[in-house]
């Protein structure tokens, strides 16, 4: 069985190699090959899962040592995999959702001439993401971490002919680098503290290190998580990342990659448990991002950006839960999985709508689509109900537990966190209802007057007649089937996980779990959640359901305008980081020109001058040379005698 673990990664890696190096020969069937290998990886994952279920719960982790990567003295880096329940959960999520999105992309990318490359990148992403969650040490995890960053960069900028996409890709890459630095520093700190960076020894000896060291490591890991999972203060890239093709947004920027930060914190639980200050930082980041993303999601008219805000906010929930320690880890991962289902479903639904609407993303130009796209409407609707936490659906089970755990943190902190989580639930209900109403209900707001703006120029749109009036239609089977499957997950996953606390029992051996003492009962929390849910939905309905929606956005309040600009995140970064950075750069360039170059050029000039002068000693006369030799010998003798004298 251990040998299969390597194959999990190898299958999509092979696909990436074939598709990216195979050349045009694979243009015709390459996408099918890529999809087949993704599905193959899922099948292997399922076999391993079945095998794992068959074993005792404390004997489930598998190890597979491939080779020693960098054995240098006391430094030892291995390429070795570890498949425990936590990794298994991720493997199934990644390969499962990944396979569905490969299938979806067959339809979505049908007319793109660089389709083969797209599937190659998708396979590369799968391989890197699997490496990330299967690594048995932090260094190998780092390799996967960088790999998914690369794949994300390539896929956000996939339509590189659009300057906005190219810029968004660069932005994502650069912001992620900041986080990556955190991870690399954390790994170095681990090595100096523990002498290794393999999970098992580091985590089992975590309590041996001083709290200061552990706090430092924890904060650096948190920085890494912030970058990859788009948490405040490194959140600014996620909205722009929606420039990528929608399947990419669904897979990478909603379901899997952006949750890597949650995985990292959960995996490093032993470190955070022993560093309360770092944990406080984690919950703070989670709580702030939870609200931040939700507020941004309320104001966006671009359907994908609204969903991106929502993703940020939902990951905020997960980070919050992970920061709560053993009372939250399981629920963080559980919400991660259910979120993977319904958010991927929502994105695929959004993609389906865009596909039908000539790639229009402005929800104010949608409206009344439920009649034209019934399958999309139903699947999107189920995803919607799941995310707002409609009782019985997936989101209800997982989010409710997080809110409960937040209250259970205890003390003032618990009340604040619980309150924030509840408030977030209300806002979630509001913005998701808004998306739903704008897209599928109300009057149709498309086609009646010619669009004043150029529709975005995607290749797919051009072939369909970019300037033509949209004729909404249901998407092909290859797109609707993944949406239906994901809708099933959105509906049933949460309930299934909560049956007999199945998910908790499954994950407990890895993450450990303790029941917190909530100051308010579980039933009260659920009731409170229901109340805020109804308030949120009601508000949205009052605003967007009862009266017609204008095609152009009203000016809005100060908060709305700020939220449209992502709560001024880019302005903030510009003023706080970019400007001082530019001044620093200019200063350094000045110093480089005047001082460094001055010294360098001065040295070069003086060497050259000296050379020219010394050269004149070489006058070609043997007599001069002989005098030189004589003087040299005299100096040699004098120096020798002098050495003896002193």
């Amino acid at each position: 069985m251990e040998n299969l673990i390597g194959l999990l990664v190898a299958a999509p890696l092979l696909g990436a190699a074939l598709l990216l190096c195979g050349g045009r020969r694979l243009d015709g069937k390459g996408h099918l090959l890529g999809t087949a290998l993704a599905v193959a990886s899922f099948v292997i994952g399922a076999v391993l899962f079945a095998d794992m279920l068959g074993r005792d719960e404390h004997d489930r982790a598998l190890h597979s040592h491939l080779f020693s990567w960098i054995p240098v003295g006391g430094f030892r880096a291995d390429v070795a995999f570890q498949l425990d329940q936590l990794s298994m959960t991720f493997v199934l999520l990644i390969t499962g959702v990944g396979s569905l999105i490969h299938i979806y992309s067959i339809g979505y990318m049908e007319h793109d001439e660089r389709r083969r490359r797209f599937f190659g990148y998708l396979n590369l992403f799968l391989a890197a993401m699997l490496l990330l969650v299967l690594a048995d040490n932090y260094l190998l995890l780092y390799v996967g971490w960088e790999g998914v960053g690369l794949a994300s960069y390539l896929l956000i900028g996939f339509w590189q002919h659009k300057p906005s996409a190219a810029t968004a890709a660069k932005k994502a890459f650069i912001v992620n680098r900041v986080g990556d630095v955190g991870l690399s520093i954390a790994i170095m700190l681990m090595f100096t503290t523990f002498g290794t960076f393999a999970f098992a020894p580091v985590l089992s000896h975590a309590t041996d290190a001083s709290e200061g060291k552990l706090t430092a490591i924890g904060l650096m890991l948190l920085l890494a998580a912030c970058g990859k999972s788009a948490q405040v203060p490194l959140q600014s890239w996620l909205g722009d990342a929606m420039e990528g093709p929608t399947p990419v947004s669904a897979l990478i920027h909603a379901a899997t990659m952006v949750t890597a930060g949650v995985y990292l914190i959960t995996r490093s639980g032993a470190i955070f448990n022993a560093a309360p200050d770092a944990q406080t930082a984690v919950v703070t980041v989670g709580a702030v991002t939870l609200l931040f993303g939700a507020i941004v999601g309320c104001a966006k008219d671009d359907i994908k950006k609204a969903l991106a805000g929502s993703t940020m906010s939902q990951i905020g929930y997960m980070i919050l839960a992970a920061g709560l320690g053993p009372i939250g880890y399981v629920f963080a991962i559980m919400h991660l999985v259910t979120h993977g289902f319904f958010k991927a479903g929502l994105f695929l639904g959004a993609g389906s709508v865009m596909h039908a609407m000539n790639d229009e993303v402005d929800m104010r130009k949608y409206g009344g689509l439920r009649k034209y796209m019934p399958v999309t409407f139903v699947t999107f609707g189920l995803g919607y109900l799941a995310i707002i936490g409609f009782p019985g659906l997936s989101g209800f089970w997982s989010k409710d537990k997080i809110i409960e755990a937040a209250f259970a943190k205890g003390g003032t902190e618990g009340w604040i966190l619980g309150g924030v989580a509840l408030l977030g639930a209300a806002i979630t209900a509001y913005y998701m209802t808004r998306v739903m109403l704008l897209t599928f209900f109300g009057e149709k707001r498309w086609g009646t007057t010619p669009s004043p703006e150029e529709p975005s120029a995607e290749p797919a749109a051009e072939t369909a007649g970019a300037h033509a009036e949209p004729h909404p239609h249901e998407s092909p089977k290859s797109m609707t089937i993944p949406m239906i499957v994901l809708a099933f997950g959105s509906v049933f996953a949460g309930g299934l996980f909560s049956l007999n606390d199945a998910f908790l029992k499954w994950l407990e051996p890895v993450t450990s779990h303790s029941h917190g003492d909530s100051p308010i009962g579980a039933a009260t929390v659920t009731a409170g959640t229901m109340v805020v849910l109804l308030v949120g939905v009601g508000l949205a309905w009052a605003q967007y359901g009862r009266r017609p929606v204008p095609r152009t956005a009203p000016r809005g309040s100060l908060l709305t305008r700020a939220a449209r600009r992502d709560l001024l995140q880019d302005d903030f970064n510009h003023v706080v980081l970019v400007k001082p950075g530019q001044y620093l750069t200019r200063g350094l360039v000045y110093v480089d020109h005047k001082l460094v170059d001055g010294v360098v050029n001065g040295t070069a000039a003086s060497v050259g001058g000296l050379s020219g002068r010394l050269r004149k000693l070489q006058n070609g006369y043997a007599r001069s040379y002989a005098v030189g030799m004589f003087a040299g010998t005299a100096a040699l003798i004098a120096a020798t005698l002098l050495m003896r004298a002193v």
């Binding site: 070489q618 003798i637 005698l641």
Partner: protein, 550 residues
């Protein structure tokens, strides 16, 4: 006793019992490399005397190659017989040492000479004169340049095949030089390899005046330095009463068992020792080309026929450094607190001087000459280490450096215009566009000179600097690295010139060499890269060979 009676007694003593003079005990087997080469040189002379002209070239080439290869095989045989390590000994009545450093250096010299002979024998580079293929050497060196006799000799198809026995004689001297175990043998070996080199320098077929001037300068200055060396030997003899290395070392260390009255009088006279030691050192530093005894180097390197320059730059340096090492490590170790500071100074001015003056050179042969001066400084840093690592690093550096040098000068012979070799740097502009392979090969050699990793130059430089730093000469290493940086400038400038400048319309062409020069260049490239990529085996070899016998 009257004067006449004394003479009479000497006569009679000598004539009365001749059988009491011990017959010299010569270990022919252990001296085989030298004997083979010198024997072949004599065969070469006989070939010149007895064979018709048209057969001489092939016969000489054959004899030279076979002799050098056989001598190298003999060195290998001695090394395999543990003569480099456990069975190291003094042979030939105390005159010649057979030990690790001697065998390593002899092997290096023989391989270098073998490759150099290939370039000597090259006959395809210059256009044929009157239907006869010509090499780098004058048709009849004794003829006045540009005179009628010369033209007649060219027309008759004369060639100077004497270069082969001359090279063999020089090699013979070079083999003895680093192995010499007494000062007189040292001096004889020096003259044996110097005199043929003076002659070889004068033999260039093109620019004969320049060549002859170089030879005369080299001869005059060489004789001048020999005089110093010889005077130094005399002073050392005066001090110690012996010329053997071990004997002098014993006196320096104060470990003589039997102090004769004469010795007792001079032993305490350190002035004799110090002045004599300094003068012998000077003679060796001249051959190495260390500042301020370097001034012959650029003129001679430029004027001599390029194959000779390559041979001289590589082999002479190996032999002279070998002799210097033995002198400092065997004869004068007791004096190291005196000579080390002085050698520090020499190494510093040599490294900096060579590198700085090279910056403004415009002729590629002169550039390489100054580069060789700078490299002599780097090797001196290893010599100064006075540790076993110092010896082995110098041995390795010499082996690495000599093949780079040979290869580089071989490439210089290829780049030609109507006047022969186009050595002015401006003519090399854009060479990389027209002859990418030749330019790339030259770039490899330049990078090796500059000490860029993955070339032998890096491994060698790293070894000597490490040895010097471990030996307490950290400051010297800093200056060495600064000099390397200056030197890198002019090496890389040539690369930039070759690859990033527009080719000149009237630029030189690259001659297509025969397999001989191609082989020489290819061997240079292979050795450069192998010693750069996988130096450990050879470093270990040099490490095993790094112990002098006393």
């Amino acid at each position: 006793m009257s004067h006449a009676a004394t003479v009479h007694m000497l006569w009679t003593t000598a004539s009365v019992s001749p059988d009491k003079i011990p017959s010299p005990d010569i270990e022919y087997g252990q001296l085989a490399p030298t004997l083979i080469v010198l024997g072949a040189a004599i065969v070469g002379v006989l070939i010149e005397a007895l064979l018709p002209r048209r057969h001489r070239y092939a016969a000489q080439l054959f004899v030279s190659v076979v002799a050098l290869a056989a001598a190298f095989a003999a060195v290998l045989g001695l090394a395999a017989g543990d003569y480099g390590t456990t069975k190291a000994r003094i042979a030939a009545m105390g005159a010649i040492a057979v030990d690790g450093p001697a065998l390593f250096l002899e092997g290096t010299i023989l391989l270098v000479a073998l490759v150099a002979v290939f370039t000597f024998a090259e006959r395809r580079l210059d256009p044929a004169a009157h239907g006869n293929r010509v090499d780098s050497f004058a048709a009849q060196p004794a003829a006045v340049p540009g005179g009628e006799a010369e033209q007649a000799a060219v027309k008759a198809g004369f060639t100077t095949t004497e270069v082969f026995p001359l090279v063999l004689f020089a090699v013979g001297g070079m083999l003895v030089f680093p192995a010499a175990n007494d000062l007189l043998t040292l001096f004889v070996a020096l003259e044996v390899f110097s005199l043929p080199l003076y002659v070889l320098c004068a033999l260039a077929r093109r620019h004969r005046m320049l060549s002859q001037e170089a030879a005369v300068k080299y001869f005059l200055l060489g004789a001048f330095s020999s005089a110093f060396l010889l005077f130094g030997i005399a002073l050392l003899y005066g001090y110690a009463g012996t010329v053997t290395y071990a004997g002098i070392a014993d006196v320096v260390d104060g470990q003589v068992g039997d102090i004769t009255p004469a010795l007792a009088g001079t032993m305490g006279n350190d002035a004799l020792l110090l002045i004599g030691g300094a003068m012998v050192l000077m003679g060796l530093l001249f051959k190495i080309g260390a500042v301020p005894f370097h001034m012959w180097t650029p003129d001679v390197y430029q004027g001599a026929p390029t194959p000779v320059t390559g041979f001289m730059a590589a082999a002479t340096k190996v032999a002279a450094f070998g002799a210097l090492l033995r002198l400092l490590y065997v004869v004068l170790p007791g004096l190291r607190w005196d000579w080390r500071p002085v050698m520090w100074g020499v190494a510093i001015v040599t490294m900096l001087g060579g590198a700085i003056v090279a910056v403004t050179q415009t002729d590629v042969k002169r550039l390489l000459a100054y580069s060789s001066i700078a490299h002599a400084g780097f090797i001196l840093a290893g010599v100064i280490a006075t540790t076993p690592d110092g010896i082995s690093s110098v041995l390795f550096y010499l082996a690495a450096y000599s093949f780079v040098t040979l290869g580089a000068f071989s490439v210089v012979t290829l780049v030609r215009d109507a006047g022969g070799e186009a050595t002015h740097l401006s003519k090399w502009a854009g060479l990389g566009r027209r002859s990418p392979l030749v330019a790339a090969v030259f770039a490899v050699f330049l990078l090796a000179f500059a000490g860029i990793p993955l070339t032998s130059g890096f491994a060698g430089k790293f070894a000597v600097f490490k040895a010097a730093a471990d030996g307490g000469a950290g400051a010297l290493v800093v200056i060495g690295v600064i000099s390397s940086a200056i030197a890198a400038f002019f090496y890389i400038r040539v690369i930039v010139l070759m690859f990033f400048s527009e080719p000149r319309t009237e630029g030189p062409s690259v001659a297509v060499p025969s397999p001989l020069t191609s082989a020489a260049i290819a061997i240079g490239v292979v050795v450069t890269i192998v010693l750069g990529v996988a130096p450990q085996y050879f470093l270990d070899l040099a490490g095993q060979a790094g112990v002098f016998v006393r």
